[in-house]
Amino acid sequence: MTQTESTVVVRVGGEGGEGTITIGDIFSRIAARAGLEVYSFRTYPSEIKGGQVLYQARIGTQRVMSEGDEADVLVAMNQQAWTECNDHLCSMSTLIYDTNAVEVPESYGGVTYPIPATEIATDLDWARGKNFVLLGALTCLFNFDWEMTKAVVERRMQRHKDTLTKNLAALRKGYEYIQEHYTAPFDHALPLPDPDTIEERILITGAEAMAMGALAAGCQFYSGYPITPATPIMETLAKYLPSFGGTLVQAEDEIASINMIIGAAFAGKKAMTATSGPGFSLMIEALGLAGITEVPIVLVNVQRAGPSTGLPTKTSQGDLFLTLYGGHGDAPRFVIAPDSVKDCYYSMINAFSLAEYFQTPVIVLSDQAMASRLETMPWDTKLWNPVLERRLPTEEELAEDYRRYKDTEDGISSMALPGMSGGIYLAESLEHNEYGYPDQDPANHEKMMKKRAKKTETARKLLKDWASTARRWGEEDAAFGIIGWGSTRGAVREAMDLLQKRGIKVEAIYPHTLLPMPDEAMLSFFKHKKAVLVPELNFSSQLARMVEHRYYKALYKLNIQFHTLAKEQGVPFKVQEICDAVVKMIAEEEGC
C-alpha cells in the first residue's frame, strides 16, 4: 500500500457509454464540494460507446499528488471492472458492485457492498440510471450530505433536463439503500471539514486551466482543429473568447490553424492553437515560418501515446524530441513543460510572455492524463512572473529607416504592426535582411541565424530570475537524484516521501523550460550526485538523451551515471514503479 491514510482511492469501472465517467466525475466534484482535495485520472477507449472505461478519483484531507497505485474502493459496474481490477485490490480494499452485473467469487476476502443497482433502476422504469444508484450508494458511504450531493448532480446534469428527475430518483434510491442496509461506519470515510472553514479552491481540468491561463494572458485569437485530447481547450475558449473581444475559428486542418494564428499575431493579436501529436506533426513547417519571420505564437501539444494515430485517448510524453527539434533548418522556439494542473494555468501566462517578448513560437507540452484530470487548486490571481509584452517600434524608429529585423544586442528587434505608418515591412519566409527583403548572401544568412538564436541566450539569462523554471525537491546533498518533466511529478514526489520514510535520500529536479534549459539549476543539481534516474512516459528516454547530450562534460567530469525508466504503455507511472527503480539504481551503484 502506497496510499497515505489521509487519502482514499476510488475507482469506478464499467462499459463505455454506461455513464462510468459521468459518475466518477460527479463523485470527484461532490468530494471537492465537501472540502476534500481531489485528483482524478480517466482512461477510456477511443470509441464513443463500448470498450472498458475507468475513472479513478483520489480524494484526501491534504493535497493529493497522484492518482494512486491501488484502489481502496472499487465500484464495479460490470464483470470486467472486477476481473481487471481485482489484482490491484488488496485485502483492505472494499468492493461496491452491481449484483445484477457482477459475480464475485466467495473466496474474495475484502469487504463487499453488493447492491442490486440494475434492479433498483429498473423498478424506477429507468434501467439506464443504475450508475446513479451506485453513485448514491457511494456518496452515502462517504457521509456526504444528501442536499449537497443532489445540488452537485443537478448542476452537472442541467443540460440533460429530460433525464434529471429520473437520475435524481435513482441517486436517492442508492443513497437510501445504504442507509437501510448498512449501519456500520464505512472503513474509508474521511473526516470532513467544517463547511464554514473550507478554504476557497477551484476544481478544474488541466485543459480548462490552460484555457483560463490563455485568457489571463490576454489571448485574443485561437484557431484549431478538433483532436483528442486537446479539444477541450478549444471548446472552453470557444465559449469565453468572444466575451473578451476575441475570435475563435475552427480551422479546416492544423496547417490552416497555425497559419491563421501566425497571421493574427502578425496583425498584432496574442494568438494560440492547441493540438496533439498528429496535428503537431502537420504544423512543423509553419513552426519554422513563425521562427524565421519572428512572429509570436503559442502552441499547446497535449501528448497522446504512440506513433501515427497510436492510442488517441491514452497518455504519453513521446513528443519531446519532435517538440524540441522537429523542423528543418534550425528553427528557433521555446518549450515549456508544466507539471501540474495549477502549473498549466501559469505556464500559459509564461508562454505568452515569452512568445510576445521574444517574438518566437512557444510550445507548451501537456499530456492526456494532465489535460483530462480534475484537480483542486487554490485560486489566487497573483502572478508568478511579470507579464511581458511585445516590443513595438518607437516613433523615432518609425520616423527614419525602420528596420524590422534589426540585429540588436539581445536579438530582439521592434515589431511594427500593419496600420502603423512608417513601419511597412515584409515578413519573409526566405532568408532576409534587416528590412525583411530576401537576401541570400552567406554572411547575411549567418548573421540572421545568429540574431534569432541570440534570443534563446537572452531568454536563458532572463529566466534565471523567474519562479519555476526548474523545481527541486529533497535534499541538495543527496547522492542520488531524479530528473523528470511534466505530469510525472506527482508520482515522483510521492515516491520520494516513501523512500524518505525508509531512510533513502534523493533529490529531484523538474526543469519547466526545456528550451532554453535552466543550465544553472541543472549544474547545481548535479554537484553532489553520483547517479540519477530519469523516469519518462516514452519509449526511448527522450529527456535522458537530451540531458546527457547537453551536459555531457559535467556528467563526465563528475562521473554521474544515468539510469532510465522508460514506460510507454499509455498510462501514468505508479508510485511503486518509481520507488523500485530508485532502489534498483542505488543497489547497482553501490554494487550490492
Binding site: R29, A32, R33, G35, I198, E200, R201, I202, L203, E208, M212, L215, A216, F221, S223, Y240, P242, S243, G245, G246, T247, V249, A251, E252, D253, I255, A256, S257, N259, M260, I261, G263, A264, A265, F266, A267, G268, K269, A271, E285, A286, L289, T293, T376, W379, T381, P418, G419, M420, S421, G423, I424, Y425, L426, A427, E428, S429, L430, G436, Y437
Partner: protein
C-alpha cells in the same frame, strides 16, 4: 497627400520575374487598384504562398507576408481577423492554390472571409522550372511528364462557384484595364472574392497567343447574381470568358459575423468565469 499613382505602391525592389511574365500585369493592376481606391499603404497587407507569383509582396509598398507554399488563405484569414480594419489581399499561383493549398479555398469561401484572393494561373509550376500543374491540359509533355500528363485539368471558376464563393471573376494579363477594374470591385466586396488571372509563364508555358484567341468578355447581359447562369458560362472551356461571373451582394462577410458574436456575448471577467469552477 496628392493624387496617388500606381508607382507609389511599388517597393522599388526589382521583380525576379522573367521579362514578359504575365505576373507583371497583375502587379500593375493591383497597384493601380490601390491607387484608384486611395487606400493608405500601411493599411494594406499582401500575403502570399510560394512560387514565382508568390514573390509578389516584395515588389509592393505595403505590409507583406511571404509565407509557406499553399497557405496564403489561412495566413490572410488570420491577418484580417487579427485586424479587420486592414485591406487584405492573398496572392499565389495555380500550384500553390489548387494543388498543395487546394484544401483551403472551400473554407475561405464558406466563411466568406473579407479578403481578395488572386491566383496567377499559368498552368505550370514556374518556380520549380516547368512541371505540370493542376490546370495543365491533358497530354502536356514536360520533363516530369515525358509521356504526357494523364489528368484532366481543374476548372478553377467552376470550383469557386461550387464552393459558393460570393465573388468570382476571371482576368487575363493582356487586359490590364479590365483586370484593374475587377480587382477594385473585389477589394470593395465585403466577403471572399476570388479572381483567376490567366497569367502566362513565358518561359515554361507561353500561352499568350492561345489565350488571345480563345478569351472573350462575358456577354453584357449576364446577370452576376444568377449562380446557375454563372455556372453555365464557367462550363464553357473552348472559350475562356473574362469578367465577373458571380457576385452575391447580400451575404454578410465573416468579420461582420464575428463582430456580431462578440457584441452579443455577455461581458465577463476572468473572475466571473472562475466562479463556475469553484467547488
Amino acid at each position: 497627400m496628392g493624387q496617388l499613382k500606381a508607382k507609389d505602391y511599388k517597393s522599388g525592389v526589382k521583380p525576379i520575374w522573367c521579362p514578359g511574365c504575365g505576373d507583371y500585369a497583375v502587379l500593375n493592376a493591383l497597384t493601380k487598384a490601390f491607387a484608384g481606391l486611395e487606400i493608405p499603404h500601411e493599411e494594406i497587407v499582401v500575403a502570399s504562398g510560394i512560387g514565382c507569383s508568390s514573390r509578389f509582396p516584395a515588389f509592393i509598398k505595403t505590409y507583406g507576408f511571404h509565407g509557406v507554399h499553399g497557405r496564403p488563405l489561412p495566413l490572410a484569414t488570420g491577418i484580417k481577423l487579427g485586424n479587420p480594419d486592414l485591406t487584405v489581399v492573398a496572392v499565389g499561383g495555380d500550384g500553390d492554390g489548387f494543388s498543395i493549398g487546394g484544401g483551403h479555398m472551400p473554407h475561405a469561401a464558406r466563411r466568406n472571409i473579407d479578403i481578395t484572393y488572386i491566383v496567377m494561373d499559368n498552368s505550370i509550376y514556374g518556380m520549380t522550372k516547368g512541371q505540370p500543374s493542376p490546370t495543365s491540359p491533358t497530354g502536356m509533355h514536360r520533363k516530369a511528364a515525358p509521356y504526357g500528363t494523364q489528368e484532366t485539368p481543374l476548372n478553377p471558376i467552376m470550383m469557386a462557384l461550387s464552393y459558393n464563393a460570393s465573388f468570382v471573376a476571371r482576368c487575363f494579363s493582356n487586359k490590364l484595364k479590365e483586370m484593374t477594374d475587377i480587382i477594385m470591385q473585389a477589394i470593395q466586396h465585403p466577403g471572399f472574392a476570388f479572381i483567376q488571372v490567366l497569367s502566362p509563364c513565358i518561359t515554361f508555358n507561353d500561352t499568350y497567343a492561345h489565350y488571345r484567341e480563345i478569351t472573350q468578355l462575358i456577354p453584357e447581359d449576364h446577370d452576376t447574381s444568377d449562380l446557375a447562369a454563372a455556372l453555365q458560362l464557367a462550363l464553357v472551356t473552348d472559350t475562356q470568358y473574362l469578367g465577373v461571373f458571380y457576385h452575391d451582394k447580400e451575404r454578410l462577410g465573416y468579420c461582420e459575423r464575428v463582430r456580431m458574436v462578440q457584441e452579443a456575448a455577455p461581458k465577463m471577467s476572468l473572475d466571473a468565469i472562475i466562479e463556475n469552477y469553484k467547488r
